[in-house]
Every structure is written in C-alpha cells, then in structure tokens.
Symmetry: C3
Amino acid sequence: MTENLRGLPERLGRIAYGGDYNPEQWPEEVWAEDVRLMKQAGVSLVSVGIFGWALVEPRPGEFDFGWFDRVLDNLAEAGISAAVATMTASPPPWLAKLHPETLPRRADGTVLWPGARQAYCPSSPVYREHATRLVSRIAERYADHPALALWHIGNEYGCHVRACYCDISAAAFREWLRERYGGIAELNDAWSTKFWSQRYDDFDEVLPPRTAPTFANPTQQLDFARFSSDTMLDLLRMEKAVLRAATPDVPVTTNHVPLAKTLDLHRWASEVDVVSYDSYPDPHDPQAHVLAALSYDVIRSLRGGQPWLLMEQAPCAVNWRERNGVKQPGQMRLWSWQAVAQGADAVMFFQWRQSKGGAEKFHSAMVPHTGPDSRTFREVAGLGAELAETGSLVDTRPDNDVALVLDWESWWALELNSHPATLDQLDAFLAHYSPLFDANIGCDVVHPDSDLSGYRLVVVPNLYLTRAETAANLTEHVRRGGHLLVSFFSGIVDESDQVHLGGYLGPLREVLGAHVAEFWPLADGESVGVSVLDSAERGVLWSEDIVADGAEVVGRFTDGGLAGGAALTRNSFGDGVAWYLGTRLGAEGMRALLDRVVEDSGVSPVVAGLPAGVQAVRRGGRVFLLNHNVGSVAVSVAGGRVEIPGFGVEVLAG
Amino acid sequence: MTENLRGLPERLGRIAYGGDYNPEQWPEEVWAEDVRLMKQAGVSLVSVGIFGWALVEPRPGEFDFGWFDRVLDNLAEAGISAAVATMTASPPPWLAKLHPETLPRRADGTVLWPGARQAYCPSSPVYREHATRLVSRIAERYADHPALALWHIGNEYGCHVRACYCDISAAAFREWLRERYGGIAELNDAWSTKFWSQRYDDFDEVLPPRTAPTFANPTQQLDFARFSSDTMLDLLRMEKAVLRAATPDVPVTTNHVPLAKTLDLHRWASEVDVVSYDSYPDPHDPQAHVLAALSYDVIRSLRGGQPWLLMEQAPCAVNWRERNGVKQPGQMRLWSWQAVAQGADAVMFFQWRQSKGGAEKFHSAMVPHTGPDSRTFREVAGLGAELAETGSLVDTRPDNDVALVLDWESWWALELNSHPATLDQLDAFLAHYSPLFDANIGCDVVHPDSDLSGYRLVVVPNLYLTRAETAANLTEHVRRGGHLLVSFFSGIVDESDQVHLGGYLGPLREVLGAHVAEFWPLADGESVGVSVLDSAERGVLWSEDIVADGAEVVGRFTDGGLAGGAALTRNSFGDGVAWYLGTRLGAEGMRALLDRVVEDSGVSPVVAGLPAGVQAVRRGGRVFLLNHNVGSVAVSVAGGRVEIPGFGVEVLAG
Amino acid sequence: MTENLRGLPERLGRIAYGGDYNPEQWPEEVWAEDVRLMKQAGVSLVSVGIFGWALVEPRPGEFDFGWFDRVLDNLAEAGISAAVATMTASPPPWLAKLHPETLPRRADGTVLWPGARQAYCPSSPVYREHATRLVSRIAERYADHPALALWHIGNEYGCHVRACYCDISAAAFREWLRERYGGIAELNDAWSTKFWSQRYDDFDEVLPPRTAPTFANPTQQLDFARFSSDTMLDLLRMEKAVLRAATPDVPVTTNHVPLAKTLDLHRWASEVDVVSYDSYPDPHDPQAHVLAALSYDVIRSLRGGQPWLLMEQAPCAVNWRERNGVKQPGQMRLWSWQAVAQGADAVMFFQWRQSKGGAEKFHSAMVPHTGPDSRTFREVAGLGAELAETGSLVDTRPDNDVALVLDWESWWALELNSHPATLDQLDAFLAHYSPLFDANIGCDVVHPDSDLSGYRLVVVPNLYLTRAETAANLTEHVRRGGHLLVSFFSGIVDESDQVHLGGYLGPLREVLGAHVAEFWPLADGESVGVSVLDSAERGVLWSEDIVADGAEVVGRFTDGGLAGGAALTRNSFGDGVAWYLGTRLGAEGMRALLDRVVEDSGVSPVVAGLPAGVQAVRRGGRVFLLNHNVGSVAVSVAGGRVEIPGFGVEVLAG
C-alpha cells in the first residue's frame, strides 16, 4: 500500500510544524501579528479554511473568496505552506433551511439539527451536489497558489455523525446491499433471516438497523457499519476526483479522529496520499501515552510504515471532557516527539489562536487567550525551534519484528450485542499492547490479510470475525516459522457474522492445535485462578473450555468449574509456534505471558532494561528515549549514564 | 379455574421432553440427523414454526407450506409430537413496508422498526387481518396432522413490546375505556381528573399515557396497563377462535416470559387449556433458583394447580445478558427436575440446534455449535432418558397449606410513580417467599379474590390496590380460622387508584385490628431498629406510624423518630390470626418472623431440618430433594442418611 | 425595585396562613367542613382555582363559574381571603385535541402530551388567546368579590416545561433575536458564528438549540435561555394587563418553584406586586434548611427586602422524590418560622385537603387522608394559632451588611457545556453561603449591578459572565471602602459568552490586583494541597495559575504541578479590600476563609457563639433562634440561658 507522498516530504523538507489557522474568527488587523508570531514560533505549515464554507458561499451559489485569497497570500509571502481545506466539513445553515432532508437522523429517528457542526446526511445527493460545486471552485481558484502544499479534504469524517438512518440513507443502504449481494436470496442467506421471520422478499423492504423492539439482526448491523464507512469514503473519493483533475500533483489527505471504530481506516488509507491523525490523549490519565503510542503504531502502519501527519493535538487542555486537565510543562513537547519518533512527519495543533467565542473557546491554542506572553506560546515556540532541524528524519520508516492484528470489520462485529459477554476491542488491544510497550518492543499494527512475512511475532488480541483467507494467512505465517499469539473469542464467525461450526476457533483450529467447546464468561467482579507457565495469576471477564488437539497445555484454570482445564496452550506448527490464551489475565499476568512469547520468538527490544515509563523508539538512525514520568530517571545507555528529566526527551544515535 | 387439559396428558403419557425446533434455519440435509438425534435424546415433543411466517407467506397472500409439511411429516414418522405454532409472533418485513402504520410506538413516539421481532402494534386491524388469515390456513392444513398435539399461539406476548402508544392504539384504548366506563363522567370520576385540570369533555380527547411534562395521571397509566394486557389477550382469543373452530379437541397454549408485570396472567390463564412458561434463571446469581421456584409456584397456581409446560429454558447459557454464565455440569438437570417437582408436565428448551447466524446464535441449544459430541448434548440426552419413565407423575397436583397473594392490577398500581417511596413488587414478594422456600414450606400463589378455604396461612407481601371484595375475602379467611400476614403499603387504594380514606389499611383495618396514620419512608441507605417478637432486627426502605385498634403490638421501632411505636402487630380475629408488618426487615428478620407465623398457623414443611440450599418438594407421591449447592450435602431422611452431590437430585417416596 | 404591596399587608393584617384550596376535588357536602376546619386551624388566606380551567370552561368558549362562585362566597362568608388564580396553568384536554400544535416539544423533538400538567407551548398564540379570554372572564366576574385579596397568575411557570423547541417557538425565538440584535450581522458577531461554519445569512435560518451532532453554539443556548424566561414572562405580563385593567388596586403575584435556573427572577420580580415562593426542603437531607435559608434570602432580596409570600410548602412529606421523608414533629413549625424570620408575610401549604386520587394523592396536606384527628392537622392548627398574633412583623424589612451576588444570566452561561470543567452554580453558592449561615451572618443575595453601597462585604461565589458595568460596580464598591470576595471562574466572558481577552478575570483584574494565566481543573477524585492564611487545606475541582499584579498572595498551592503558586490573594484597593480564591476548598477551608473575610470587613453576626445548627435571624425588632437539630440545645443569650428543644423556636426581643 506504500506509495510516495507526491513530493510532500521534499516540499516541506523537515518535520512540518503548525496548526489549524482560522483567521476568519478575527479582524484582519490581527492577521499581521499572526504571521509575525508564526515565524517566531517556527511554523512551516498551517491548515486553512476548514470551517470556511458559510463565509465563502454566504448564499447558495454566491461565492466570496476575497478574504481567503488574502489569507493564502499572506502565508505565501511569509513562506508558510498551507494545507488548504475543501471546506465541506460543515455546511452553512442555509443548506438545512432550503433542504431539511439533508439533516441526519439517529437510529431512533431524532433529527440532528444545525447549530453545531457536521449536520448533514452523508448519503444526501443535495449535500453532495453543493459540496462538489464548492470543491470545484476552490480547486480551480487555488490550484496554482504558491502556498498550496496539500489538500485537506473534509475534516474528521464520522466524528459526530457516525451513521445516518434517514430515508435517503435507507435507499442508499439498499443500493449498497444490492451491489454487495446481487440478489435478495444472497442477502437473506448472509443475514440468516430465516430466524425471527426476517426474510426479505425484495430489497425494497430492507432498512437500516433503526430502533427495534429488541436486538436488531447482527449482520444487518454489521453491513450498516460497512455501508456507513463506505458512504463517507465516497464523499472523500468524490472530492478527490475534483482535486486530482485540477491538481494531479498536489497530495490529498483527510484527518482522522482519535482511534475509533467508525471508519475502516484500512480502506480509507489507500485513497489518500498521506494519512493524517488528530491525537488527544487525556492528561488526567496516567496511561494516556500508551493508548497514544498504540494509535500512532496503527496510523503509521496504515500505509506500510509511510510517515503520517499529526494534524491536530492540543497545545495544552481540551474543553470537551467533564474535567479537562492541562499538559504540564514539558508534556506537550514530550508527546510531540513521541509522535515524531513513531513516524509523524508533521506536528500540528488545533488551533493557532484561541477563539474568543463559540463551542471551543476553552480549547487551548498556540496563542492562548492571555496572548503570546504565556507558558503555552513559549513551549510552542521552543518546540518549533527544535523541529526546524529535522530534515534527516523526514520520510524514514521503521523495521519492526512484531505485528498486532487489527481489522475494523471484526471490531464492528465484536462489539455487536447479544454476545456471550460484552467485550471491548480497544481494551483487548491495550491488554496485549501495554506489555509490549513497557518492554520497548517496536510494533506495527496490521490488517490480518496483509503480508506478514516480515514479522517474527504476530499478536491477535481478539479477532472475532475471521475470514477463511485470514486464517490461512495466519496459519501460513506460523508454518513458515513465525510465532503467533491469539487470545479468546477469535476465529468465531465469518464475514456474515455466521459461526464457524464444529468447535470454536474454527479456521484457526489447525494452527492453534486446539478448539473451544464452551464459553464460560465470568460475572462482573468475578475472577478465576490461572497458572500461566510458572506463575499463578487471575483471569477476569472470560474463561472457556479449551480442548487441546495437539497443542501443549502450558496454563490451566486452578479454581472454579473449569479447574484443571486448559487456559493457555502452545502449539508447534510447521516451523513456528502458536499460542492461545482463553482468558483475560491481569496486567502482571499479561506481562509475564508476553515477555515469554517475545523471548520465544527471538524479538529484541529497542533498548533493554529501561526504567518504567521510559519509551524507546528507533527512527531515522536515532533512538528516542521518552520519559513519560513526572520525575527524572537515570538511564544507562551506550556505556554511559543519562539523566532524563520528568517529561524529558533524549535522542541518541542508534 | 381448573379444567382438564383436553387430553394432552394422555397423548403425551409422560413428562414431555423437547424444545423449539426451527429446521428452516438449516438445509434439509440436516433434518434427518435432527430426527435421529432427537430419538437419541429422548425427545417426545417439539415446538415448530414459531418464526415461520415470512417463509410460509413470502408475499402477502401467497402461501408456501411445502417445507413445513415435510417437517411435520418427519416428526410424525418418528413418533414425535408437535406443538404447532400459529406463526404470528413476528410478521414478515413486507407487512411494515406495505403498512407502516402497523409498527408500534413507544410513549415518546419512537417507532419500533422491523429488524428484530414483534414489530407490530397489537391493536392494528391490518396485523389482525393478516394474522387471522394465516392462522386459518394453518388450522385448516394441519387440523388432522398426526404430529399435532397442541397449538402454540403467538410467542412470548409482550416480551419486547409491552404496550403501543400509536394513534391506532389510542383509538383502541378509547374504545376499551368506553366499554369499561360507559360515560365520560364515570371516567372523569375514576381518573380524578378534577386535579390538574384534566377533565375530559369527550372520549375523543383521551390519550394513552404518552410522554408528558411530568407524572401522567396514575389511573390513566393503570387503565393503560389493563388495556395493553387485554389487547394482547384479544389477539390470543382471536387466534383461539379460529383454532377451536377447526380443531375443537386440540388444546391451545401460549408461552409466557419469565415472571413479568406486563400481562395479567390470571386473565390469560383462563383462556388457554394449559399454561406454558419460559424460564431463564441467571446462573451467575446464586439465588436464581429461589426466584425460579417462586415463578413456578405462580405459574402452577394460575389454573388451580393444574400441571404446566416448561416451554423454554436454556440448555446452558443465554446470550442476552451483559455476561452470560453457563449452567455448570448437573445444573440444567437439577433445574429441570425443579420445574417437574413444582408441577411441570413438560421440560423443553430454546432451541433444538444452535443457530449459525442471527441474534440468538450464542444462545445455547440442545445440539450446540460443537455438535452432539459435547457436554450439553450429553446432559440433554441423559435427562431425556430419565424423563422417559415419568408417566406416574403426569397430571398430578399439589396440596399446599400456604398461599401468597399476587394480583397483577396491584402490581401495576404499586409501581406507578409519585408514591411515598419507589417500591418493587418482586422484591416484596421475594422478601416473604425466600424464608418459606428456605424452610421448605409448600406454597401456592393465588389471586386475592380466589377461594382461600384450603389454606391455613395466607401471606400478602404487598397489596397496594385492594378492592372491597378482596378485603372481604381476606377477612373471611381469618374469621373462619385462617392465618394471615400482611406487609406494609397494602389496602391503600381501590381499583381506580383512589385512596381508602380515614386511616390507611382501609378495608383491611378490621381484620388487622390496626390502621396506619402516616408513612415514614426511610432514606436510601438508612435503617431503623425494630424489635420483632424477641429479636432485635433492622428495617429498611419503609417505616410508618401504626395505630393498634385492638391488635397486640408484638414488635416496635427502637430508634428514630418513631421509636416506641408499633412495627409488627398480631390480631386475633374470629377464629384466626392476622399479622401486620410495617417495615421491610432484613433476611434474618424476615426469616424469624415467617418461622413464627408458620409455626403459629400449624403448617409443616415438606421435610424439616434439611441443610441450607436443599429444596424439598412433594409431587405425585414422591418427595424431590434438590441440592442447589455446588458441593454435596448429607441429608437424614426416612431414618437413613443420603449424600446428595452438588447440583444433585434425590427422589424419595413420600 | 421596592414598591408598596398595593395594600396587601393592611388587608391581611398579620402573617397570612393557609394553602391551596381545591374544593372541586370533593363533593360539595365536604365544603362546609372545610370552612369549619379552616377556622379551627387559623387559616386566613387560601389560593383557589389554580387547576380550575377544565371545570370552568368545559368546552371552548362555554363557561360555568357556578361552583367557583360558591367557593368564593363560602370563603367571604367565613372571613377568609382568597388568592384567586387565573386558572391558566394547565389547559384542558380539549385544547390539545383542537390544536395539537399547542403542545410543547423537547430539544430532540419529543412532544409533551396532555395527561399531566403544563402541556402548552409558551409561545403559542392559540394558547395565549384562550388564556386571555379566560382571564378576562375571571377578572370581570370576581373584580369586586369580597374574598378577593390577591391575583395568583399562572402557577410555577417553567416547572415542568422549561423551554419549548417547536416550530412556533422557533419563530418566536427569531422575533426575539431580531428585537435583541437588530440585524443578522450583529447576531453573527455575538454568536461567533464564523466558527464551525455557522454564519447565518438571514434570521429565517436561525433555530432553537435543538439536538445537534455535538455541542450547540453556546451563545445560541444562552440566548435561548433568555428567550425562554422572557417568553414565560410575557405570559405573566399578558395576564397582568387584563387584571390591572379590571382591578387596578388588587395586587398580583405568581409563585415560583424552588431555587432554579429556568427563570431570571430579577426580571420577573419587577413585574409583580409581591414575590411568592414554593419551598420544598428534603427532610431526608440534614442540611436542607441551609439551602432553604439561601433560597429565602434570594427571594426576599428580589424586591429589595420587601416581604414575600411562602405560597407553598408541604405540611409533612411530598410524593415526587424516590423516597419521601416526613417532617418530624415540630419540623414543619420550625421551617415555617424560618421563612417568617427570613421575611415571609405568609405561610401557606400545598394543599388544604389531601387528594383521594391523581398524581399528588400522596403529597401531604393540611387535612390528611386520615382526617383532622392526626398529627399533621394538630400541628397545622397549632401553628395557625401562633401566627394569628403576628401583626407587628408584617411588612418589616432586614438590614444586612453582607450581600452575595447572583445573576441568572451568568448561571445559564456557567452551566453550558464545553467548559474547562463542569461546574454547578448552586454548589458554588452553597460553598460560600454555608459558612456565613453557620456564623449567623445576615445575608442578602443581589443582582451584581444593583446598588451595593449599603453592604460592607460582597461575596461573588462564581460570576462567569461579567459585563463591564458589573465589573465597574464591584470595583466601585471596593474603591469606596467595601470588601469583596471573588471565587474562581469569574469575570471570564461578556454578555455574548465571549472571553475577556488578555488574562482571565478580565474586567475584575483591576480590583483584584491579579489575573489568571491558565485553568488547571482537577480530575474527579483529585485534590490539591492549599495553604489558606495559616491553615493547611485541600482544594478540589479546580486549580489555576494566578498571577498577582499587586495583590498580596495569602494562600498557595502546596503540591501538584502548581506547588508554590498563588491560590488566594488579598488586594488593598481604594479604601477597600478584594480577595480572590482560585480553588474550591472543603467545608473547613471555606469556613476558615469566610470567617477571616467577615472579620476583616467588620461585619458582626446576628448572635455570636451559638451552638451548631442554631440559626439566628433578626426581623421586626425580634431575634428568632431556630434550632435545626433533632436534640435540644442550651443557648446563652441576653445574660440568660435558654434551652431550646429539638426543632424548637425561641423568639427574643432584639
């Protein structure tokens, strides 16, 4: 999937630095100071126009680009590049006034009205027509503008409206289904509609999974998740077609919200030239940097390790949690370098100047309400100076031995209702990722059907939906000498959410040398004793009756109704080894297990023996040591000893 | 209310055994194995066609019964009887497509769409017309089929759609009210509409209790609960009329969901030939068997002790809780025998073969995903073998000395809003039933207006709505020498939810020899000291100012604002004794009280002195000892000593 | 704002006593007993007809006042005065039947149906037309009735329907906005619509803040709160105009629900002749009397200390909480005297006779279900006798040295979403008021723009929205020698919810001698050490980076990321002193701070050195000592020692 970035690295020449720039919120008098302060802060790239639609098209079909011309001219003059937005993220109020049917609806029929943002139905032909016209005008007008470095299509697709259930969306869903299944008989088979008298006689009868008396058909729900992701992807494709026609050499991107299940990013990533990501770790959460690290590994892996753009982060606090903690002194710098170390080629913020009014006025900005004489602006300018000298990092890629497997389709299916227990895909992921992070094992996060030949160890935290091809890919990985760790409730259903019969684990039975006879979910608050290799641990959430069909039983339940039964197996298969875990261990147990699996597979950490909370990442011939602790730590590296202050960053050759 | 079962016991000849059989989910190749495995498992009765509508009527008015003919023929050939469903439980998607007005609506106007099941308005004439046509076709076609043993009307009425608030339902509600009240003046009086300016000038103005600015009129709510139960009962009557016309000698039933307040089962029970019940105790709840026991006593008592059919239970786990625990080895057998001991003449499961897809694919089945070589199928077959030899139990009835009083109308009224405290009818019931269960006292659960002459002790956990006739019935019971225990917030209102004035307890004042001057509900987490006979206990939830008008005060509040006041009274009245309790004691306190009341009344347990967790039930000349503990217990019975294993069952003559 | 009460004090001649009288709920036979018992209970004033509409106008335009004539005649004959309701609080069901568009809608579109009360859209011209006609008929008919003492307009405006979001309301909102802003450009500026592409091209595009994909525009929300309060105030003005025309000399009032943010009572108070208040402290809450005390200080201050009417309270328990505790013996009397001491000229109840049916039948009444032979009626009659001799208290006003500042606009704005932390205006108020209450400091609660010259100390618990005039008023207060205490998140935005730039505290920076550089909200459960003057305390919820610009730092954070930074400052300014607190201290910390601030300002308590839980209030030349403890306390006063029983009241000259 890796392609070149259409010249973006060459154009930027360094790790880009900047943020969303919304000068329309301010009188033009302020704009000169903006540019002056940007230069002072080392800004090289800004995103402009994201919410500009209502200003550039104040009335349907009447355009006023004058102010935006001046913004871009100012930037060009100052030598600052622009990621120019297509402005379609939020239609002006006149669209809903003229065409109320463009408003999205929830599953229960509630209309989502204007007054915030993103109030449009993604399937609406009226929205699409207006958006296309707007993008055409923008593409035409700015195709040759010297500030233009990158097209920024839409903004945070699916952030607030994850799906629309209106009648227009229903018709579009039916078209999508007709495309997928061909005939209604095939849909009936895939959806198991003989259950609960759901057989459809014609596509005309099919609906989105609107509020129903009880659990809606799970395959209907799964297909609607696919459709909703694809429908928003159509919007991106529609805009891209306009932009490519006008500017075949300008790269396009769209920025994604923090790790979420709404969009199948594997499908999205192939449609852009570079992936952009918005990262908002919660400073009140002491493990926020681990989830951030996971998300950066996910994002970087979407295009095979190609660098990505950190398109948004907060300079200090956000404003949309119940209590919004600040990034303490040094923490914004640390987390920015974390992104760079994990593959970002840009470090950008929402937003340049803190709004005086509106719904995000208490979201921090590079220039805060108190002005440039402030901690935040000083830290912003300090980081800007550091990033100016990063040319050698640009467009470099990692080489990791471990891959975790993530599949959005399986995520959607896993979190459907009416399962043996309510499971959470991200929880499952973090349970497996955290020990790897703590041990400073470099990880990629890949689609399960991707080429695994470069990896020594593949970890499958939970892959409920496992297609036959997927299982074959994992099996082949082990056969060829790779190592594999699979956790419970994997290999359960096919792409239609239909169970692989004859013993759970289905198509993974062969490689794992085991199957599962029964699931025994644990009650909330219940735990079960588990021996794992040589240590006594406790499992929560889940247990199950594992039948070893050749695998070695290396862990057993030690109490409860399954006492004595297998909890962890290890199967030598082909030239490799496949592990299977039938419960969720606590943090210590997961660490003990992962340490052993990693050791077994011959994978080495980036740096061994670091103190807790110190992340080591290799990029572009350097090793970044990131101290996520509040206090300083002493680190022995390369024969010497380095003291890294709290929230400090140390860069070594390596 | 007891009638004969229209020959069903003779036809079945034993405790029937089987489950829901939905072969339409599988290719016909599988059907032969189904019948073979059924024989292996000792299956004698299956329910067929419950969700068959969309298949037998793929388009409006076009019927295709071929596949269903073959299913019934296969069963007949194998000597397996069929409870043939009327298939009306869930209309096909085409009904909503053609007639969107058949979709039900919630109180807030939300439409409940197709995609799950039960998506029809029970008042819809269109639904009724289609359902009637379907039932006529089925009745006509299968009237003489040799497999037909029983008609299974609808399925779990009111499970997901407890009431519909749409305009069609509103019109039907008005008709129902016109029938009940005759004139609008009578409705205004009953509903106390002079309060809050609610007077209706005409029936046309009346609505269901849709979402309102605050508490809707309570009598409107109560009548709507009556209407909703009656409306669904009309559906049953409608289908029954068709079936009776075609097959006057075939019994009819409908299966009810676990103990719920939606339907007034006292009214429903008289319309069927045999009551059917679906039982889903939660294996994660260590007291699940007590609630199950209570529900079986309720269900058996609906038709005066006549045996009932356990129409559904799970062979192992269900799939609709957040965490679904398994029935551990032996537990399914134990709980099945519990139902038989408490009067079931059938033990059946949902469902025969575990679905590959759809919303219940993780609900366990007699033949699980792993196939017949499984714990579940082995336990199923084992129980089947045991049940084959149960002819002597069939159609036998208990003879209990204790009755608890349950009235759905009072349940509805009790749980309305705007009361002194939020009370829960089932909690109140369990608080009184559990000590009786623990002491192995055989209980019936009867309507308060029923003939009480056969009972020594009547327990009224909470009868907020008490009609004058009801009070007279209870009073007469004591006058004639019976014992009575009434707990707080009983005797409060009449059938229109209007307070019996002049001192609470109203029409129960005479028999109880006391009245209540004021309710003093306790705060959440608050408790109050109570002396109960000779023990010091704590009360929660409620206290009150009881004025003894002749009753002896045998318990007092010992702290708080009511310290020194009566908490428990005992009144000798006529030839009997009436107790009254003005608080909710903890488990120990309730046990102490019930032990004393039972002793006082001269009632004996089935077996005395059993270890905790061992249930003793007498049926058909045997005593069933059911060990609900995980571990084994030693029991001294009939001069000997028996060891009953965990989850074990011991059957004695008795 | 103080005006005379249009002769009401002279007419009543004493602290009025009575309650809501709804005889229409009862047969006329009961009415004679009503009047007899009222005389027995010392009743002098009753509210009549509040929910009479459906009875006096049974069909549109057909009026039947006969029964109401008889009610008023009976009262007049007995010498009991009447607050005659305009009966518009709840329209009859026929209104919604004829005009469904009069029903209100929630933000998500849910219709609020009839069946409870208040089911009308306040902007509905149809409702207004019908209401006006009704009020005209009532005014005309009873203008000269001898029982008429006071017009009772509407009832509890905004209690259940705080705002309506329907299309009619939307149109009215647009008219209101046009009036407020003149042009759409001004609205766009005020609402900061350049953010998120929200620019309106015309007023026609503007909507209420209906359910949106995410946070609706905050100024839209704020203006909608203003509009909703103003719209209901229009209803009051509409009725008042009719009444004034018919009876220029009869005072008008409307009763307000317990301290709530729905209505801007500063705007409402100037429209009535006397303010009426409904008070429902929760007997289960041991601090309920403190919130009650605060609310009475608020209500009394609305018209500059002019006496107010306690229009409703419960004689014993209410019925709308989950668990409704009783007022214990003496508690109703105590809380009634508390209201009188804090300025009430009437003590009234909801309601006279406890309903037999309907949604409030379990709400206590002066004559309970058990009848007059009851604790409640005896306590009611006892208090009635006491209140008969209170002529000298009538129409007297307090003279307090301390004012707290409350502004409904700031309350609305503070509790909008998307803030640094979720804050609660009443919590902030109670945190500052409770220490003052405990120290028996007499307080008023005033609008921040009111004349502060009479106060030594002004306390600003939280004034997020601070207009420039407001800041000037507070600044001038200190300049002239007053003391001021301001707590965090004050002075943040202007009337359009736009931030005062250049350092938080904005226009309060000068008087406080400090500004805030950054907010550091604390996580839920987190606390931070704070030195306050000489004591070590803990702060929760909030901390911040305070920069002293001349103020003395008298408290510092002692741990966390701000350790060493200012937490409390004291600024000598002009002839006065201004304190600023940057966190929320616990109860002890707030007490230590307030004690010091009070001492500093030279303010004295009503009575010093009272035991905890004893409230001292001065009114009309007396000092009321109110013992809110369950047990008795010994008090040393005026050289002697008085024992006040639990829930007792002692009145001293003073």
